[in-house]
Symmetry: C2
Amino acid sequence: MKGPLAGDVFGEMLRDALAVAAGVGRRPLAGGRLPRPVIEIVERDDGLVNGVLAAPYLAGPDEWPAHDRRALDLVRGRVLDIGVGGGRAALALQERGVAVTGLDVSPGAIEVCRARGVRDLVHATVEEHAAAGRRYDTFLLLGNNLGLLEGRERAPRFLAALAAMANPGARVVAQGTDPYGTTDPVQVTYHERNRGLGRLGGQLRLRLRYRELATDWFDYLVCSLAELAELVDGTGWRLAEVDDADAPYYLACLHLDGAADGAQVLA
Amino acid sequence: MKGPLAGDVFGEMLRDALAVAAGVGRRPLAGGRLPRPVIEIVERDDGLVNGVLAAPYLAGPDEWPAHDRRALDLVRGRVLDIGVGGGRAALALQERGVAVTGLDVSPGAIEVCRARGVRDLVHATVEEHAAAGRRYDTFLLLGNNLGLLEGRERAPRFLAALAAMANPGARVVAQGTDPYGTTDPVQVTYHERNRGLGRLGGQLRLRLRYRELATDWFDYLVCSLAELAELVDGTGWRLAEVDDADAPYYLACLHLDGAADGAQVLA
C-alpha cells in the first residue's frame, strides 16, 4: 500500500480540465481511448469524501450561479482576483475592460490562466504579494474563496495582508456559504466536533486529491454572516454590504473602516 | 482525524443517483440547496484516485457504449445478470421479453433495481446463489464486471460457481478492458509492481468511497484477452467468441466445453 504523492493537485486538475475542454494535449482517458470528465476529490478529516467536477472552473458567466455574475458588478477600480484558479472571473473582468491581476499559489493554475489569455498573473501568497508593493481597489474572492480566511487564527492575518495592498476606499468582494441550514447528521456532527475543539463549526479540515497527487491538510472556512462579522471585527475591515438572495450562498462586501465615502467616490 | 465508515458504498451511491435522476427523495445537496452530481470515488492501493459519475449506472441503452448494446444480442435463454447494479441491463432485457434475474451483493443496489422495476432479484454472492439450485443459460457481466474474476486465485472458483448454475449449452457474456495499451507511467509502474508480486498486471487492488463510507480493499481485474484465455483454461469454460471492435474494450463469450452445439441450438 502506497499513499498519494505531494503535488500541485489543483494545477494538474485544471491542466487536464483545459485539455479535455479544448480537445488537445494530454488528457485523462478511460481505457486509454475515451476522454473522461475531470473530477477533483475533496477529503475531509472525518472521512467524508466528495467528487467535484472540474469543468465549472473554466465556465463562462452564462453558466455561473447568478450571485457570481452579480459579484462582477460589485468590483471597482483595480482588482486582485485571489485564488484565480482557471481564470473564469479574471477573463470576464478583462472583457469588461477592468484592470485585473490573478493571484494563485498553484503554478498549474497560473499556467492555465496564461494559456486562456489572463494577462496579469502572480504566483504568490497574499503575504508575499503584499511585499511587492502593488495596490488594489477590490479584492475578489469568488468560488467560496471566503474560505481562505480559514478560521479565527488566519483571518486577521489574511485581512491585514489585503489592507496592506489596499488603495483608499478599497473593498473585499467575497462569496461564502452558510453551512448551518443542514440537518444532515454527518454535517451536524462535524460542526459540533469542530466547536468542541475550539474551531468554528464550518472550519473544514480538507485535502485535495487528483490522480496520484494529494495536498497537505489545510483549513477552509464555511461560515455564517454572523461569524464573518465577528472575524472581521478589529481588523480595520467592516462588513458593509451583503447579498444573500441565493442563500445559503452569499456575497459579502467588506470596506476599510472610515473608507465608505472613498468607495462611493470610486463607484 | 477519523477514517471513513464501513458500509454499502455502491448501494448508497445508487440510491442518491436515483434520487437525483428522479428529483425526489433524499439527495446530496451542494450548500443544502442545489442537487450535485453523484460521484463514486475509486481509490487504488498505489494512491491513485478517480471520480466516476454515477448517472451512467442508470442510463438507458441509447446512452450506452455500443459494445454494451451488442452484448444484449449475445444472450440466450434465462439470464443471470451478475452485479446487476442500477439494473440498466436487466431492465433492457426485461423490455425485450427475456427472463432475467439480477444478482448483487449490495442491498442498496437490489433496492434501487426493485424501485426501477426489475422483477427478479437476488441478494447474494455467486456461490450463495449456486447453492439455491436455480439454472441459467447466460451469465451476463457488463460494465467491466469481468473484473469480478479478480485474478488467478478467484477466477476458477467464480467460474465453477457459474458452471454449477449452468444449463447445458450455457454461456458467459462478459465485458472487459485490455489495460496494456497505455504508456502512462503511473499505470505502467503499477502493472510492473503487480507482476513483481506474482499478480496479474491489471489485478487492481481497490476500495470504493462515497461520502462517509468506504468498502474494504478488494481485487478487481482488468486483463488482456490472452490473460483471460489462460484464466479460463482448465475451468470447463472455453473462450469461444470475442468482439473487440471497440478495443481496448471487449466482449468475451465463454462456452461450457463441448456445449457449443447446445448454445447454437438455443440460438
